[in-house]
């Protein structure tokens, strides 16, 4: 079946199988591999994207459900003139190790700061509770989000 959606500000058409996820469509049909595929059950958050401005796991959205809707992936987060403040802060704070969880965490952190520019530590932990990282122990990631909050 054919779907039409806006991804990172651009109109796209894609031929998808009825049972496939938005994550599969983004990665395999639209050539956007930034959103990562890991658990496929909404546990790990590495496929986090914004669907009509709402943070979701792309693996739990049917591609067909995104028909006519707007998606922002990690590829579309940054303004044209440089990285997103969260991306910059991840670099500065050393919040990236293997990097697999990073795109999802960047999207989730950007979503948090868009709604709550100066989060408390509790708010920060709760907002990122759906994004698993097996390398860092999270301390540097939280540092990065605090840094981004302070910078904006």
């Amino acid at each position: 079946m054919r779907i039409e959606l806006t991804v990172n500000g651009e109109r796209h058409e894609a031929d998808v199988w009825a049972g496939e996820s938005l994550l599969f469509a983004l990665r395999e049909r639209l050539g956007l591999p930034g959103s990562k595929n890991a658990c496929e059950q909404g546990e790990c958050g590495s496929c986090s994207v914004l669907l009509d401005g709402t943070l979701v796991c792309a693996c739990l959205v049917l591609a067909a459900q995104a028909d006519g809707h707007e998606v922002v992936t990690v590829e579309g987060l940054a303004p044209e003139d440089g990285p997103h403040p969260v991306q910059e802060a991840f670099v500065q704070a050393g919040a990236v190790q293997c990097g697999f969880c990073t795109p999802g965490l960047v999207v989730a952190a950007a979503d948090l700061l868009a709604r709550t520019p100066d989060p408390t530590d509790d708010e920060l932990r709760e907002a990122l509770s759906g994004n698993l990282c097996r390398c860092t122990g999270y301390a540097k990631i939280f540092d990065a989000v605090r840094l981004a909050a302070g910078a904006s």
Binding site: G19, L55, V56, C57, L60, V61, L62
Partner: protein
């Protein structure tokens, strides 16, 4: 496999009646896991995302009508004052990503013994509104939940809404799991101390084939933790033992009573 995307409730009900084996999908947090792992390959998926009548909630003469498509995030943000136990439960469902997509209607449709929205709705004596070719019917949530992952929904019906008359009683929701975030309940409990009606109501989850309501007069609060633990019919499974679940319910009930009495 095919996806049907109705734009109105009437259209959704017509499609549902025409394709009895269709799987309704709203937030996808349960259905997509089945599809992603190829555990099921439904012939037709009925995508309810575009049906505006299923979204949001409304107040009608002291009753709240929660659309089946009401998300956990909306419950958290909008219902903290009127249905505090439900709002608390919504906050414990998965992650923000899951809360943004998962819905009350989906929790009812899946009818898991561990469904977090179910105990808070039971203590508020919620009713479920179903629609099908024969029209609408409403039945108490207790009757809607008939077994583990089994409900009273007919093949040609859709869950449309949940009706609740907020009791105003002090109430809370608690759950036990291996950690604070992202857990399926090993045991859960919603409890309301309803002074107006002189009774305590508690509903447990993950401690029997379906979440169940237990009542007692206010003056029997002392024995209530034991009563809830005895009313449950838990099993041993990968997440915990029956004995642990009974123990947890006893402890949670005592804590919830304390919290709601203060």
């Amino acid at each position: 496999m095919d996806v049907l995307t109705p734009r109105t409730l009437d259209e959704a009900l017509r499609l549902r009646a025409e394709t009895a084996d269709a799987w309704p999908i709203q937030g996808g947090t349960d259905v997509m896991v089945e599809l992603n792992f190829d555990r099921a390959r439904p012939r037709v998926v009925l995508n309810l995302n575009e049906v505006a009548e299923l979204r949001g909630f409304a107040r009608e003469n002291g009753t709240l009508r929660l659309g089946a498509g009401l998300t956990y995030t909306e419950c958290r943000r909008e219902l903290g004052e009127t249905l505090p136990a439900l709002a608390e439960a919504a906050r414990t469902v998965g992650s923000p990503q899951i809360q943004n997509r998962g819905t009350i209607g989906g929790n009812l449709g899946t009818a898991s013994p561990a469904g977090d929205a179910l105990p808070p709705l039971l203590v508020e004596e919620a009713e479920v509104e179903l629609a099908g070719p024969a029209g609408r019917r409403t039945l108490p949530l207790e009757e809607f939940l008939v077994g583990p992952k089994q409900n009273a929904l007919a093949e040609d019906e859709l869950i449309v809404a949940v009706h609740v008359r907020p009791s105003g009683a002090r109430q809370t929701f608690m759950k036990v799991g291996p950690r604070n975030a992202m857990v399926i309940a090993v045991a859960s409990l919603a409890l309301a101390v309803d002074r107006e009606r002189g009774e305590i109501r508690a509903a447990y989850g993950s401690a029997g084939p379906v979440p169940r309501l237990v009542r007692a007069p206010l003056d029997e609060a002392d024995g209530f933790p034991d009563r809830v633990a005895e009313a449950a019919s838990p099993i041993d499974d990968v997440r915990g033992t029956a004995a642990y679940r009974r123990h947890a319910l006893r402890v949670l009930t005592a804590r919830a009573l304390e919290r709601c009495a203060a």
